[in-house]
């Protein structure tokens, strides 16, 4: 890594590895996360959660709990008049498509659908008293048969979760040309078929979720502090959809957020619960913080697909068709955008970076008695990448072609952009479309192959074999779609997303020349306070230390849709660039007034506004701000003060791509898989801060590797979560990773002025498939052509043993 820099005083900080401005508070223990907040007279809430995966609630007796020490109140679902949680993104796009929707209520009323669904809440003076009182609540349960597996859930005779969802189907959604794909696949020279499982993951940001609700009886207004990626959206959803009150009656504040990875996008029942309780208690603030074990049932899970792949093509390696059927397990009820993930964000990018002419996918959303499933880092795109990258390897193995060569053979070529992929990105109704706008895939792959020494792979395998190790190398030439999204596309009729997706930024220039930038996006560890300041410092020609970046409070920031889908740099920061442009335009006009020149004759060089041809006639940005704030001499028609807001709706998504290569060694005796090298060449466009970009890649790669090697949520057939704590769920540790070797190509995005694409998810999208392909490559010599993740030593050892037995 390049040495990091302190913020430069004169030259632009854009594109430089500037040390993060938010770090001093975090390294000294002065961060303020949700649970660090104490309010006067604050009470504590604990939630009683279902011990059954599927049960009816006959009755709940809270009388004993109410008389427990310190207990202030006990609530059950019937006490709460709110609507169920909203469904913001049902599956959409197909004619006649029906979504059978059931979302959670603040507390369950009649039945529970997974272990962990909330059924009662205790508010007490202390957290310990609240937990003590939970034990005294008696629920008369009627346990029901449960089903946790999506294939079993749609089978005849399966327990039924919801009356409105026959066979437990949330939706049956299709995309692409069925007839064309059927013809291409059924008539192909070569077809390879494989069932693959993309296992359920528990996201596990290090800070669990929590909220503090406060109702102010004097103003009839609510404030909620929430560990959220989307405070503005939560205000909208809670007010308009859940509580039925005017939006301006709720203020949402996200303090420092300790990681999120998608989990903190959504509208959770506990938000409504703390607000209800605070109002019921006459305005006492009520805090709730989930425990880690509790979070496995109260915060969303990710992935959980079962997919049948059919990939078709010619013996020369040309891929001509891809037919995919996926069952997406969405849990016992639906999270806020659960159905949108395995449909639009998955199936519409199934063909990756390849020009496959015929693609058709059927996706069935399924209810099971499990925790709800929604967007987890990458959200649909890791699942799609896993499908297509495994499929390419399977096809290459079938025809005996080199895995790099088959990718090269099928890449969309640089002169083929803009490219409409056939799984439907360009076919949204309403005239809106998004298309793959740019890319150059071979140089990234060639660089990665050279770095890893691909030409010497056979020699390396032989050397490892001599040490009792099976060496495998896996490629993942991924394509990501991020920077969501053009509003008219995401909101197109039939697409289903019920909102726009623009972003906003406001810039105020104080009398002293200090600049305050506010935005509608919401950091969770990405360093937005640094990167926004880099951009605005560059745009206005002022030192970074003069730029303060504020966010996370619906009071004081312009409305924004929040941070997820790797959209902050490409959408949010473009809004900030636009706002800076408005500031400069007004400053230019005022400079012209001060210098008695025409605005057209003012040239801007950093913070200097000069008369063209008379370089001595100039004003600094600070002088202009000072004079315009005082407004003693503002010209007719010009408003005082430099204060501009901009909104930006991107014309297209952005398309990062790259090649990741994993090298693993498997101990043939024990089945232990070791990741020994990891090479990543990514093209995320221009970089605002390459240090932060590298960090995003490191963390993203580790999360994807975690899925391949260790992680997986496991339920018993009865619906008990067997991986129910960090003791049982395998979180990646430092000792599991080599140094990641990062390279880059830079193809600026053509859709935004910064040329940025986004990097928050790329590592995760790419790395799972790279490691999976490496493990299967290592086992290929034993005749193993596929193995489902995670590659625990037990699973790999068993596969080796059965393969050897089969050979004997």
């Amino acid at each position: 890594m390049t040495d990091v820099l302190d913020a430069p005083k004169l030259s632009s900080p854009l594109g430089k590895p500037i040390k993060r401005t938010e770090d001093p508070r975090f390294i000294t223990g002065q961060g303020r996360y949700l649970d660090d907040i104490k309010l006067q007279s604050m009470a504590h809430m604990a939630i009683l959660r279902s011990p059954y995966a599927h049960a009816n609630i006959r009755s709940i007796d809270t009388s004993a709990a109410k008389s427990m020490p310190g207990v202030v109140a006990v609530y059950v679902g019937a006490d709460i008049p709110y609507n169920p949680m909203p469904m913001a993104w049902p599956a959409g796009g197909s004619a006649g498509l029906q979504n059978n929707i059931s979302t959670p209520r603040t507390l369950a009323t009649d039945s529970v659908k997974w272990t962990g669904e909330g059924v009662a809440a205790v508010v007490a003076e202390t957290e310990a008293q609240a937990f003590d009182a939970l034990e005294a609540i008696h629920v008369d349960w009627e346990p029901l048969p449960a089903v946790v597996d999506a294939e079993k859930a749609i089978a005849d005779g399966a327990p039924q979760l919801h009356e409105n969802a026959p066979n437990n189907k949330v939706f049956e959604w299709t995309v692409g040309d069925k007839a064309g794909t059927d013809a291409a696949v059924d008539g192909a020279e070569v077809v390879v078929r494989q069932r693959i499982v993309n296992q359920r993951l528990i996201p596990n940001p290090m800070e669990v979720r929590g909220n503090i609700g406060w109702y102010n009886p004097g103003t009839d207004e609510y404030t909620i502090w929430m560990s959220s990626q989307t405070p503005h959206i939560q205000r909208l959803l809670l007010a308009a959809f859940v509580m039925g009150i005017p939006e301006h009656k709720i203020r949402c504040i996200s303090p420092d957020v300790g990681g999120a990875f998608g989990t903190k996008i959504f509208c959770y029942p506990d938000y409504a619960m703390v607000l209800f309780a605070s109002k019921a208690l006459g305005g006492r603030p009520v805090k709730w913080v989930e425990g880690r074990r509790e979070s496995y049932g109260s915060t969303i899970h990710g992935r959980d697909h079962i997919t049948h792949i059919e990939i078709a093509g010619k013996k020369d390696g040309e891929i001509t068709g891809l037919r995919v059927k996926t069952l997406a397990n969405l849990g016992g009820r639906l999270s806020t955008i659960g159905p949108g993930i395995p449909t639009t964000l998955y199936a519409r990018v199934l063909s990756g970076c390849y020009k496959i002419p015929n693609v058709y996918a059927e996706v069935t959303g399924v209810y099971t008695n499990t925790t709800f499933v929604d967007a987890y880092r990458g959200a649909g795109r890791p699942e799609a990448t896993y499908v297509i990258e495994r499929a390419m390897d399977l096809f290459a193995a079938e025809i005996g072609m080199d895995r790099a060569e088959i990718r090269r053979r099928n890449f969309i070529q640089p002169d083929q952009f803009p490219y409409d992929n056939p799984s439907g990105l360009g076919t949204a109704s309403g005239g809106a479309k998004i298309y793959i706008d740019s890319g150059n895939y071979e140089p990234a792959m060639d660089q990665a192959l050279a770095t890893v020494g691909y030409a010497n792979l056979d020699a390396k395998k032989s050397e490892a074999k001599g040490r009792g190790k099976l060496l495998g190398l896996g490629l993942s030439t991924y394509l990501e779609v991020c920077g969501v999204a053009p509003s008219k596309w995401i909101g197109a009729v039939g697409e289903g997303w019920g909102a726009a997706m623009w972003e906003s930024s406001n810039i105020k220039v104080h009398l002293t020349g200090k600049v305050v930038v506010t935005m509608g996006t919401q950091p969770q560890g990405q360093g937005h306070e640094t990167t926004y300041a880099q951009v605005i410092s560059h745009e206005l020609g002022i030192p970074m230390e003069d730029v303060i970046v504020q966010h996370s409070d619906t009071q004081g920031t312009p409305f924004g849709y929040g941070s997820y889908g790797s959209r902050t740099s490409s959408v949010g920061m473009t809004a900030a660039v636009k706002a800076a442009g408005k500031i400069k335009d007004k400053a230019r006009r005022y400079a012209a007034h001060m210098l008695e020149a025409s605005p057209d004759d003012i040239e801007i060089d950093g913070a200097e506004y000069r008369v063209k041809g008379s370089p001595d006639r100039k004003k600094t940005f600070q002088e202009i701000a000072f004079a315009l704030d005082l407004a003693f001499d503002a010209p007719e028609g010009m408003e005082p003060y430099l204060d501009e807001t901009a909104y930006y709706d991107t014309p297209n998504c952005t398309w990062p791509f790259g090649t990741h290569i994993a090298v693993v060694e498997i101990d043939e005796e024990t089945g232990v898989v070791e990741l020994v090298r990891y090479v990543a060449v990514d093209d995320v466009g221009n970089k605002i801060n390459p240090m932060i970009v590298d960090g995003q890649l490191h963390g993203g790669i580790a999360q994807g590797v975690g899925q391949a090697l260790w992680e997986g949520a496991i339920y018993s057939d009865e619906g008990q979560l067997l991986t129910g704590s960090m003791l049982d769920y395998a979180m990646p540790k430092a000792s599991g990773f080599p140094i990641f070797e990062l390279g880059e190509t830079v193809t600026p995005s053509p859709v935004n002025p910064l040329g940025v694409k986004g990097v928050g998810e790329a590592g995760t999208i790419a790395s799972t498939a790279a490691v999976a392909n490496a493990v299967v490559d290592a086992l290929g010599g034993l005749g193993i052509r596929h193995l489902d993740m995670p590659y625990t030593s037990q699973k790999v050892w068993s596969a080796i043993q059965s393969a050897k037995g089969g050979q004997a």
Binding site: M1, V4, K19, R20, E22, D23, P24, R25, F26, I27, T28, G29, Q30, G31, R32, Y33, D35, D36, K38, A128, N204, P205, M206, E207, V208, D256, V257, G258, G259, F261, G291, R292, R293, Q524, G525, Q526, G527, M691, I692, D694, G695, Q696, H698, G699, G700, I701, A702, Q703, S725, M726, L727, M731, P732, K733, A734, S735, F737, I739, F740, G763
Partner: protein, 169 residues
């Protein structure tokens, strides 16, 4: 109510009454308002609550507060030199300069564990660092820059005194 205990926390004697079941991390966070020590799990896996007790790194969720009676406790708030503008501990500086943190939630525990490692091994290898941090989970960084930061701090701390670096406990 509860038991009376006395601890020296970040150099100051602190007296408090705690329920016998109160964990050390709860006493630090809730009774002493030292919220830099975090709680990331409930099974002692994540290490976000790591502090030093009598000079050794301890997960403060694994100890009752009453067990710390009479102990010398250092938290992340006590790592920089005392006073306004006090010099950062070399590990704090290194985490900042090497981008060893993103969301920052695991960072205090990482720094406290790494300080214990460096007190016993002033020139650790990458492997030694990665194994020393086995009880500290980070979900953001992929650990790479944490390892880089600990190595960088080790170099600074191995230099002869004279820099402003305060001693680790």
């Amino acid at each position: 109510m509860g038991e009376h205990i006395s601890m020296t926390v970040n150099g100051a004697v602190r007296e408090l009454d705690v329920e016998p079941r109160r964990l050390l991390v709860q006493a630090l966070r809730e009774d002493l308002d030292l919220t830099g020590t975090h709680v990331g799990c409930d099974t002692s896996q994540c290490g976000a609550c790591t502090v030093h007790v009598d000079g050794k790194a301890v997960k403060s969720c694994t100890m009752l507060a009453v067990q710390a009676d009479g102990a010398i406790v250092t938290t992340i708030e006590g790592m920089a030199a005392p006073g306004d503008g006090g010099a950062l501990h070399p590990l704090q500086t290194a985490f900042w300069e090497k981008h060893g943190l993103q969301c920052g939630f695991c960072t205090p525990g990482m720094i406290m564990t790494a300080a214990d490692l460096l007190a016993n091994n002033n020139d650790p290898t990458d492997d030694e660092i990665r194994h020393a941090l086995a009880g500290n989970i980070c979900r953001c960084t992929g650990y790479q820059n944490i390892v880089v930061a600990v190595k960088a701090a080790a170099v600074v701390m191995a230099e002869p005194r004279g820099s402003a670096a305060p001693a680790s406990v």
